[in-house]
């Protein structure tokens, strides 16, 4: 889904609140929330994709105004309710107030997961174009590279496709690749000498044709 979690390249955010010596947990409740997510994910047998998608479905305003471990708490409670471990009214009664959960899954049940892809279609050095599409369910294809052309720099193993595993018990496996994008391919206001690498599943990619649309002013800088 085109959710608030897909933050790469968004503008308007301020400085990074950076401190070199930050502890693992700043508050006791953060450690508890983290452990409870592990408990719930184990009890309902949630895949990594289903867990991540339960955070991505948070209401955007709530997502941006809450910290990481509140995301995990919301995910744990949402998965527990969706899998019938407990109810929202129980949560709210115990908490003595509202207990915001993530929104519903927008994707209809993944129909046919399709066959596994065991052999990489691309090799190091191949030019690939990321599919320009907007699936309503979970995906690990960031918006900022969709439609863009890059070069495969590494072929990794074969892994379960998150888009499938997030939405049911079916699984499809595909190779993943590290794809290098020149910043000039991604941003009109790109910074000098920058390359961004994104790890992408096989079905996110097509072989790039010889001609490529891009930002005209970037021509000649991209290599």
């Amino acid at each position: 889904m085109d959710g608030i979690h897909d933050l790469g390249g968004m503008q308007g955010f301020g400085t990074v609140d950076h401190s070199p010596g930050e502890p693992a947990f700043r508050h006791e409740w953060e450690a508890v929330a983290r452990a409870l997510l592990v408990v719930v994910a184990g009890a309902v047998r949630a895949s990594g994709g289903e867990f991540r998608h339960s955070i991505e479905r948070m209401e955007p305003g709530h997502y941006l105004t809450s910290g990481y471990y509140e995301h995990w708490l919301t995910a744990a409670a949402t998965l527990a309710v969706e899998h019938g471990l407990l109810t929202r009214s129980e949560l709210e009664a115990r908490a003595g107030g509202s207990f915001p959960l993530s929104g519903p899954v927008l994707a209809t049940q993944a129909a046919d997961p399709g066959p596994d892809v065991r052999e990489p279609r691309f090799g190091v050095g191949d030019r690939v174009r990321v599919r320009e599409w907007h699936p309503p369910g979970h995906t690990r294809c960031p918006r900022y590279v969709r439609g863009k052309v890059g070069t495969v720099v590494r072929v990794d193993g074969v892994f379960s496709v998150p888009d499938v595993e997030a939405h049911g018990p079916e699984r499809r496996h595909e190779p993943t690749y590290s794809v290098r994008f020149d910043a000039t391919e991604l941003w009109q206001d790109s910074q000098r000498g920058v390359r961004v690498h994104v790890d992408l599943w096989d079905s996110y990619l097509d072989r790039a044709s010889a001609s490529r649309p891009g930002f005209p002013e970037a021509d000649g800088q991209a290599q």
Binding site: H18, I55, R94, G97, L186, W187
Partner: protein, 197 residues
């Protein structure tokens, strides 16, 4: 944990929500005794940047280890006993005088737990995730890591199963140091790539 042993009279709304979920799950027998404390203890004391620092120091001290680390990060860190969740597919990217590497996860918070522990809050917050792929040069400078325009910046967005570790350059005047002394020079920030040593 700053609040350990301290019990505020009125719990905050988030504390009440965490407690509500904890009680309801415990009532269903889903929270084993001591589980929360054990998980917390591991990530507060056993798993953290000191692990990655040992890997980096070994790579500086032992050229053959460095070659193995860059060729197969997962196997090389396992030689030092590091493996586990979020550590099954480790790729190590090496800084040189001409290349600076930096790690981000724009979609969530992916991070090499066995080597660096749990990620700091700023790594997971929107400003870092939004800006590092678009304006890394200015963001790095803002964070205290100013790089000459001649240095290429390679950003690695951990969007699939690989987790990255930056191998920083060995600092000047460290030639005579033993491995343990070298490890003490290595910071978390330098292994994420938001600092140079």
């Amino acid at each position: 944990m700053s609040e350990q042993g301290h019990h505020p009279a009125v719990p905050s709304p988030i504390e009440r929500r965490v407690a509500a979920l904890q009680v309801l799950l415990a009532e269903r027998g889903l929270v084993p005794d001591g589980f929360i404390e054990e998980v917390t203890r591991r990530y507060e004391s056993e798993i953290g940047p000191m692990n990655g620092a040992r890997v980096v120091a070994r790579a500086w001290a032992d050229p053959e280890y460095r070659m193995r680390l860059l060729a197969d990060g997962t196997a090389a860190v396992a030689e030092l006993g590091f493996s586990g969740p979020e550590g099954d597919h480790i790729v190590v990217v090496e800084n040189t005088p001409a290349v600076h590497n930096v790690i981000v996860c724009t979609l969530c918070s992916c991070y090499p737990w066995p080597l660096l522990g749990l990620p700091p809050a700023w790594y997971k917050d929107p400003p870092y995730r939004a800006r590092m792929v678009r304006e890394p040069r200015s963001l790095l400078a803002e964070m205290g890591c100013s790089l000459s325009d001649e240095i290429e910046i390679r950003v690695w967005d951990s969007s699939a199963e690989v987790r990255y570790l930056v191998l920083p350059e060995r600092p000047p005047r460290s030639e005579d140091m033993a491995e343990a002394e070298l490890a003490a020079l290595v910071t978390r920030d330098s292994m994420i790539g938001v600092a140079r040593l």
